[in-house]
Subunit: 143 residues, 2 copies
């Protein structure tokens, strides 16, 4: 699949994709990917990780997630329609990130196009709050 574009299939690229894939819902930073890949391939360089990330982003194989903690994170793209409806719940307590699917914005996007001629092609929705565990901990602390 990469070969089609005249790109080479290298151990490094496979390992980076694998790291992102095997991490489930993990939203990894470049540094984290680097650490994971280094376990199985110690001579990899951080620059390769950054370059591969750019490559995979261009190929739409991965997507970036910005949790506004100073790091840019990446996840395997669920490409197409799906990804467009893939959002994040971010816990302000434990920093856990929960992904969810919802198409609520589809209506909004039609509305916007009709009223302003702005055509939405992608979006990012981040909901900040507290997960059940952190809510409970906060209640305990306050009472």
């Amino acid at each position: 699949m990469l070969r089609e574009k005249g790109l080479k299939v290298t151990k490094q690229r496979l390992l980076i994709l694998e790291a992102l894939g095997s991490c489930g819902d993990g939203h990894l930073t470049a540094e984290e990917i680097y650490e994971i890949v280094k376990k199985g391939y110690p001579k990899i360089g951080l620059a390769t990780v950054y370059r591969t990330i750019q490559l995979l982003l261009n190929l739409d194989l991965i997507e970036s997630v910005h949790l506004e903690d100073g790091y840019v994170r990446y996840e395997i793209g669920k490409s197409g329609e799906r990804s467009h409806r893939h959002h994040h719940l971010i816990c302000l307590g434990c920093k856990k990130v929960i992904s969810f699917q919802n198409d609520l914005l589809d209506d909004l996007e039609s509305q916007i196009y009709e009223s302003t001629s702005f055509q939405v092609v992608n979006h990012e929705v981040k909901l900040y709050g507290y997960c059940r565990e952190c809510l409970e901990n906060r209640r305990k602390r306050i009472t």
Copy 2:
């Protein structure tokens, strides 16, 4: 208002707030604020801008906006409920940012709380696409 918290009202702080306020819908980076303030107060340091931004963020007087172009931007907070429903349309063509208000997410947030016990306290919605002008330009280019 700042004085209440035992903080000092300095020229620098006022000028930074003024820069953000007078810029209308402008979403300024730290560097841009620095350049603007420097016009009226040349000896200001960039570090002061960064420190003041942190201060104003903590006081909820301003909010950060992440347009994913590598810069963090800031805008005067419309604080409270309003701000919670304040979203951004980002044009991928001309990079223009259009703010809009919408409460469509209120329902979604109740749904989420009911189904997962995750309590949302804030959110950020960014819609990427093309504004009318850029849509027209793209059409011309393609045909």
